[in-house]
């Protein structure tokens, strides 16, 4: 096992990390927006959100990536591979995240909303200061899982020519033929990126639920 393969692989790992960050940010945003919209009293808003969730959950993320990268140009919109990848990942994981948000909000005990109404809080105040903070704690474990899924899905951008970790590994394999070594490094590097993320989510979860363990 030598370290001369590392520089090129690390360059790919950097892209993988950036993609994970960008995708996760978009996914978080979409989860909150779509999750809240799913519960709106406005029927139009609700159905737009529902359509978004069903479409992006009902199709494969790889197909979505292909569509953003290869199909959109013919509509006149040309996206870079990084943008196409981020969009597909963010919108896809965001759709799953929206359901997590919705489930968590519905799981907050009804008595909390009633107490907030009794204190004459407006609907927005209730959501912002009573319901969402409590729902947030319940969202974290599933969000943690989704984050790892997103990280794994970034490998797919290698198929739309973005030089992420998997892409670099595959091209190194072709140029150097040191297949086994490369694969070991590949798996190690994914592990090294995934594990701290898992720990981060677990730590956040611990912080947010501290008040229940008095």
């Amino acid at each position: 096992m030598s370290f001369d393969l590392l520089p090129l692989l690390l360059r790919g790992a950097r892209i993988t990390l950036l993609l994970t960050l960008a995708g996760a940010t978009l996914a978080l945003l979409m989860s909150l927006v779509a999750g809240l919209a799913r519960m709106s009293t406005n029927r139009v808003v609700r159905s737009i959100a529902a359509t978004y969730v069903e479409v992006f959950r009902g199709t494969s993320v790889l197909v979505q990536m292909f569509w953003f990268y290869f199909a959109l140009p013919l509509f006149g919109i040309s996206l870079s591979a990084f943008t196409a990848g981020t969009l597909a990942l963010g919108l896809n994981v965001g759709a799953y995240g929206a359901e997590v948000v919705r489930g968590a909000i519905q799981a907050v005990p009804k008595g909390q909303t009633e107490a907030a109404i009794a204190l004459n809080m407006s609907p927005r105040l209730r959501m912002r200061r009573v319901v969402l903070p409590q729902a947030f704690a319940m969202m974290l474990p599933p969000f943690g899982n989704l984050l790892i899924e997103l990280l794994k899905a970034t490998a797919l951008v290698s198929l739309i020519t973005l030089p992420d970790l998997t892409f670099q590994a595959m091209s190194l394999r072709m140029t150097t033929g040191r297949t086994t070594e490369i694969f070991v490094w590949l798996l190690v590097l994914y592990f090294v990126i995934a594990y701290p993320l898992t720990l981060l989510v677990r730590w956040l979860e611990h912080r947010v639920t501290a008040y229940t363990k008095a």
Binding site: P109, G111, Q112, E114, A115, I117, A118, L119, N120, M121, S122, P123, L125, R129, V130, P133, Q134, A137, Y211, T212, K213, A214
Partner: protein, 281 residues
């Protein structure tokens, strides 16, 4: 205490021609007029007429499922009535009168009228992610717009009054049931309501903790001038504290009278059977 509140419906000043949706009964702080509510086939409020005078302490007793809690929940805007009108402090609650027409109340209108009402729940419903202090100051700061210093001073005062002055920075999960309920009472009082609703506030407590909460309620009945609507199973307590006891059954006020009268000499046979069953365990 206004005498109009206790006059039977037929003897009140009548408006013969058209129902006037903007005029509540004079003097009453709460008025239910022909309020109806059904959950599926179950009729819970059956054309209910009910009034409360300002400062009056009313105990509501009755069998489960009779609708007593629903009265409170309709008043607290947690449940929308199917028909009839509700007035609070001279204002229509669930409806608005727009150029002589009755229309469902907007969210803004509901919030305006709801300001005079507060409620304490059977299961406390404290906000678990906030400290005791924040539980009490949250609404005064963000709903009433009070400055933080003022809200916190008032909160400390109220906590002292309910005997929990040292629990400012504790979290609900660290408190006993009785303590939680006392915080809930302080939280509701911080909004300075004109009508306070108590929904079986001791039913979820261990027996030895019931006394401390009832003690606070007795104190409130003695020392404050807010109207109190207390749904309870604690007959002894009702007898001590109430100006009027209402026996509620099958969606209707079956009988109402001052406590000594109702408990010693109930007129309605249904009241008699209920009291017999409850007082003789």
């Amino acid at each position: 205490m206004s005498s109009n509140a206790l006059k039977p419906p037929g003897e009140r000043p009548a408006d013969a021609s058209q129902p006037d949706f903007s005029r509540p009964k004079d003097g009453a702080i709460v008025e239910f007029r022909k309020v109806r509510k059904a959950f599926g086939d179950l009729v819970v409020l059956d054309d209910l007429d009910f009034t409360v005078a300002p400062g009056e302490k009313v105990a509501i007793i009755g069998p489960s499922g009779s609708g007593k809690t629903t009265i409170l929940r309709v008043l607290m805007t947690l449940v929308e009535p199917d028909g009839g009108e509700v007035y609070v402090d001279g204002q229509p609650l669930w409806h608005m009168v727009v150029s002589g027409q009755k229309k469902p109340a907007s969210e803004a209108h509901l919030r305006k009228v709801r300001q005079s009402i507060g409620m304490v729940f059977q299961h406390f419903n404290l906000f678990p992610h906030m400290s005791v202090l924040r539980n009490i100051t949250e609404a005064p700061i963000h709903v009433l717009g009070k400055p933080r210093k003022e809200a916190e001073a008032r909160a400390k005062e109220l906590l002292g009054m309910v005997g929990l002055g040292d629990k400012l920075s504790a979290y609900p999960s660290q408190l006993s049931g009785g303590q939680k309920q006392r915080v809930a009472i302080a939280r509701a009082l911080a909004m300075q309501p004109k009508v306070m609703l108590f929904d079986e506030v001791t039913s979820a407590l261990d027996p030895e903790l019931v006394g401390e909460v009832l003690g606070i309620l007795r104190q409130l009945a003695r020392e404050t001038d807010m109207a109190m609507l207390i749904v309870t199973h604690e007959m002894g307590f009702a007898r001590d504290v109430a100006d009027r006891v209402v026996f509620f059954n099958a969606g209707q006020v079956a009988e109402e009278a001052p406590p000594e009268e109702l408990f010693t000499n109930p007129q309605n046979p249904r009241t008699q059977t209920f009291l017999k069953a409850v007082l003789e365990h």
